[in-house]
């Protein structure tokens, strides 16, 4: 296979990575933007979404698409509900103090990972793809499901944009993001907005996980890489900036695809981390973040 087709394959792989990363990172960015909370448990919510997807898909009879569709509905609901519970029972009681919240979410991360290990064991578990369409190009064949992941992620991201820009809850989130005290002075129940935002962020991670499990596998430690990459994406894009998060996810996803294909996945992680260091030194607010 020549350089051109090889590059095309790398770009297609990169787009898949970027799509999943964008979904995961937008959830993290939303939570930080609205609540000023650094959610270290975000990767664990991703893992939990994948685990619920595996569980649900395994319990729905019929062709794989039924199980996968059920998982796409159930996993975000379960993970979102758990996240709301964590917000109400833990983060709110800590008054969202930044240091305390980081420690608390590290605790949530370990609890969820160990609960998954104790309940389902250390083995990686597959989830069948909802369909097995293969796209045959002149140079290589490519998974139709992977392309579907890109389209589905774009659709979900468009939905998030619509939610933020066109709905009452989005307006409440944006007002709370600007000034939570003034939001309260205008009757906004900030506690409810926070719980909803935390749930939404975790649900987006779960959706990303449901999309990715048919091309990956479910494992109790699978949240570590998405968490690291999501943090890198959010820092490069600008903390709390959804536009920046999307641009950074595209850059990191594509570079991950290309570098992994031509050199090695480890080199891609090294470069992404180096990029974060450079951004922190030369533009601490990120590419699209506002100066503090």
């Amino acid at each position: 296979m020549g350089f051109g087709p090889f590059l095309l394959l790398a770009v297609m792989e990169g787009l898949v990575s970027a799509a999943v990363l964008a979904l995961t990172a937008v959830g993290l960015s939303l939570v930080f933007g609205v609540m000023r909370v650094v959610n270290v448990a975000h990767g664990a919510f991703f893992m939990l979404g994948a685990l619920v997807a595996w569980f649900v898909a395994g319990h729905v009879a019929g062709p794989p698409v039924w199980g996968w569709l059920a998982a796409l509905v159930v996993a975000p609901l379960v993970v979102g509900a758990l996240a709301a519970l964590v917000d109400i029972s833990v983060l709110k009681r800590l008054n969202y103090e930044p240091e305390a919240v980081i420690v608390a979410t590290i605790g949530v991360l370990y609890i969820l990972e160990q609960a998954a290990l104790m309940s389902f064991g250390p083995d990686a578990r597959p989830v069948a793809a909802p369909f097995t369409l293969r796209l045959q190009l002149p140079w290589f064949g490519y998974s139709g499901y992977k392309l579907f992941v890109v389209v589905a992620a774009c659709a979900v991201l468009a939905g998030v944009w619509l939610l933020m820009a066109r709905t009452r809850f989005g307006l409440l989130m944006r007002a709370t993001q600007v000034d939570r005290n003034t939001a309260r002075a205008f009757g906004i129940n900030v506690d409810r907005v926070y719980a909803g935002t935390f749930a939404l962020g975790a649900a987006l991670a779960a959706v990303a996980a449901v999309l990715v499990v048919p091309i990956s596998q479910v494992h109790y430690l699978m949240g570590a890489d998405p968490l690291l990459l999501a943090f890198i994406t959010v820092i490069i894009g600008g903390l709390g900036s959804l536009r920046g998060t999307l641009v950074a996810a595209l850059v990191i996803g594509l570079s991950d695809g290309v570098i992994s294909m031509f050199w090695s996945p480890t080199l891609s992680k090294i470069i992404a981390t180096l990029l974060v260091a450079l951004v922190l030194v030369f533009r601490p607010q990120g590419l699209f973040g506002a100066k503090a």
Binding site: R168, L171, N181, A185, F186, G187, N189
Partner: protein
């Protein structure tokens, strides 16, 4: 309408309001005056439930002390905070929408408010942080009026505004009086607001030291020198 009795409040270990009592009546403008640091803004925050208080804050007989902060505006008290505190990245229309949705008000209320501030009607899609200072103050008041409040609290509304804008705000406040709204005005600039007031409450050391009917206050009355320092 609004009655505070024995209200104490502060920030952590620092007590700012010390057993303060105060009343604002429907259809009246009550002006709160005092030197910097006597607790005027803290009083506004205490009424709005933004800080914990001991004592009683009653609106038309209903006790508000202890309610969550977001419940207070739903009962009919609106605040125009010092420094405006607009939702800067949101448009003018969205800022108004925040006020409208709180008490379930709709297009009729919005139109009525925009009739008071026609300039805002021309800027509904403009991001509010890009408005001029005077327009921002108009929006801050308009946003509060979207709640159709029974009590309107204005904290330093003339701060940094040119005379024509102050005159416009005066017209709005005088109009509110006629509709039965109780207006509570915190202001340092005596000349800017005195002619609007029905009563003036002078604050000192976290209490209302003296309340005087406006009719009994001459421009150079001793109270201004004693409590405001002008």
């Amino acid at each position: 309408m609004l009655r505070l009795e024995g209200v104490s409040a502060g920030y952590g270990a620092v007590t700012v309001l010390r057993g303060l009592s105060f009343a604002a009546e429907a259809g009246e403008v009550t002006c709160i005056m005092g030197r910097n640091g006597v607790g005027k803004t803290t009083l506004m925050r205490a009424i709005m439930g933004q800080i914990a208080v001991s004592g009683s804050v009653r609106l038309g007989g209903e006790e508000l002390a202890g309610l969550p902060a977001h419940e207070v505006p739903r009962r009919g008290i609106a605040l125009v905070p010092q420094g405006r505190r607009l939702f800067g990245p949101l448009t003018v229309a969205e800022n108004l929408e925040i006020g409208l949705m709180t008490r379930g008000k709709g297009a009729v209320t919005r139109d009525r408010v925009l009739d008071l501030f026609p300039r805002l009607r021309e800027r509904l899609t403009q991001v509010s942080s890009t408005l001029s200072g005077g327009e921002q103050q108009m929006l801050a008041i308009a946003r509060a009026l979207c709640l159709e409040p029974k009590v309107l609290l204005l904290d330093e509304p003339t701060e940094g505004l040119q005379p024509s804008m102050i005159a416009a705000i005066r017209q709005v406040v005088l109009g509110l009086k006629t509709t039965g709204v109780a207006v509570v005005l915190v202001e340092q600039r005596v000349s800017a607001v005195l002619d609007m007031a029905d009563r003036v409450a002078f604050m000192d050391h976290g209490t209302v030291a003296e309340t005087v009917a406006r009719a009994d206050l001459a421009p150079g009355a001793a109270q201004f020198a004693t409590w405001v320092g002008v």
